[in-house]
């Protein structure tokens, strides 16, 4: 069966030189596609988790009494929202990366403690996190003050009110906008290519640099892979939104 598939694509490439699905019959290229896809998935999942945490913490900090704390959050948002993520990746990796300490595993090599993958995670999480702060802030503002006051009157501390009342309600309001931003984040992981993170786009390009005849098939792979990845994310988010729906509350009540 496997042999038949390999034979089919080998023949296809021979008959149509611009449709060389080389990864279907050459193991080395196949492994590149799989490892690229895996890196993209890891990068996406880790960045989604960190960016959501940044968003929640940032939105809470925006409600702080201290003007300094609020100013720092505002500055962070303006910087990361208003500059291109591509430039941010370059900045983190080349500018900040130059100052990071290194360690030497064998006495010869100097390896920075934060790898390019690490910088991509940091950079992309902060980028998406800036939008998440604004998204959660909108959700927090949608929770009536009177509801928080009721919690206060019951003895809840500010933190408890935030954790048990404000956040669960704000999340529900935020899900549709969060959905959009996380979709964008998954697509933006391709830009980590600029600091040589071996994610799917990076691997695809190395394949078609070695085999120009594989360019069309690799683009097809890219489109299908991102359609599938984003599709799974959106499906999951919609399912989450439905499961969070409160009977008799908000839209669809």
């Amino acid at each position: 069966m496997l042999d038949a598939i390999q034979e089919f694509f080998r023949q296809l490439a021979a008959d149509h030189p611009t449709w060389n699905f080389i990864f279907f019959y050459e193991e080395r290229q196949w492994n590149k596609v799989v490892s690229g896809l895996w890196m993209t998935i890891k990068l996406s999942v880790v960045c989604i988790i960190f960016s959501v945490i940044i968003g929640i913490v940032g939105a809470a900090m925006q409600g702080a009494h201290s003007r300094i704390v609020r100013g720092v959050v505002q500055g962070y948002i303006q910087f990361f929202r208003n500059t291109p993520p591509f430039v941010q990746l370059l900045f983190f990796y080349f500018a900040l990366g130059a100052f990071t300490p290194t360690y030497s595993p064998d006495g010869w090599l100097e390896v920075p403690i934060i790898s390019n993958v690490g910088w991509a995670i940091i950079s992309l999480s902060f980028f998406a996190g800036a939008f998440n702060v604004e998204i959660f802030r909108a959700g927090v503002e949608a929770v009536p003050d009177s509801t928080q006051e009721a919690a206060e009157a019951l003895g809840f501390t500010r933190l408890q009110t935030y954790a048990y009342v404000v956040l669960p309600l704000a999340l529900r309001v935020s899900i549709p906008a969060l959905n959009n931003n996380l979709v964008n984040l998954v697509k933006t992981t391709t830009q980590a290519f600029v600091i040589a993170v071996p994610e799917l786009l990076y691997q695809a390009i190395t394949i078609w640099n070695d085999f120009p005849s594989a360019q069309n098939p690799m683009m097809l792979v890219l489109f299908i892979a991102y359609l599938a990845l984003v599709g799974v994310l959106v499906l999951g988010m919609n399912k989450w939104e439905r499961s969070m729906r409160i009977p008799g509350y908000g839209a669809g009540a």
Partner: protein
């Protein structure tokens, strides 16, 4: 100073409160004994709600003092949790947690704030919902309940903290006329059980029936006060008379 039950449970002395330059309380004093039911009435904007919000420190004050069981409420070093355990509050708009069922609303504060045993709290919460005549509605969400039912959940939620004093801030003002009664009956039951209740209300018939003492406030001062019989039938101040003639 330790408080003993023969002293006022809530003591308000010459309280002043301003929002910016607008002074809403201009020296209010009252003493409330344990088990008393107090109704505060008066025209809109007379500072009634502000006053009871000051009692559990939801609002701060600019002058005077308020103490609950001998504990100064507006003390910088006040343990707010201690105060809120003593004083329960029910709001005009119910303010239930919409993402929690009726039972969860009642259980939340004792479990999360007082860290009480969940099973024990649940038992008590079910009993409280039964007491406010909401048996069978334990698993309903606030959005699925009528205004009157929501307000009774809010009362049960407040009672779950075992307060010594209950504050009611125009709790029937947002309700349909037919559901007002079910909430008033609940409060009446509470009063009959000996709960100290301070109510801001426009329900004059109810005030006359359950209150031990009526305070009439206007423009930030107490104009007149007294037991319901003398207050309603033998008001002295022209402002009280005018208000009562418009409302009764």
């Amino acid at each position: 100073m330790t408080w003993t039950p023969d002293q006022p449970i809530v003591s308000i002395h010459n309280v002043r409160k301003a929002f910016g330059s607008l002074e809403v309380l201009k020296g209010i004093s009252m003493d409330i004994m344990k088990g008393e039911v107090i109704c505060i009435i008066g025209p809109s904007g007379s500072g009634k709600s502000t006053l009871i919000r000051c009692i559990n420190a939801l609002n701060d004050i600019q002058g005077g003092s308020i103490s609950v069981e001998g504990q100064e409420v507006h003390d910088e070093n006040l343990d707010k949790l201690e105060l809120r355990k003593k004083v329960g509050m029910v709001f005009q708009q119910y303010n239930l947690f919409p993402h929690k069922t009726a039972l969860e609303n009642v259980m939340m504060a004792p479990v999360k704030v007082l860290k009480q045993d969940k099973a024990e709290v649940e038992q008590r919460a079910r009993a409280l919902l039964k007491k406010v005549r909401l048996e069978g509605k334990e698993n309903s969400y606030p959005g699925e309940l009528s205004g009157g039912q929501q307000q009774r959940v809010a009362i049960a939620r407040s009672l779950a903290m075992s307060p010594d004093v209950m504050l009611f801030d125009e709790v029937t003002a947002a309700l349909d006329p037919e559901t007002v009664k079910e909430v008033l009956v609940t409060i009446k039951d509470l009063a009959a059980d000996g709960m100290t209740c301070i109510l801001v209300t426009h329900e004059m018939g109810f005030a006359r029936e359950v209150a031990d003492h009526i305070y009439f406030t206007d423009k930030g001062v107490i104009v007149e006060h007294g037991p319901p019989s003398t207050f309603f039938d033998n008001a002295q101040d022209p402002r009280t008379k005018e208000f009562l003639s418009q409302i009764l």
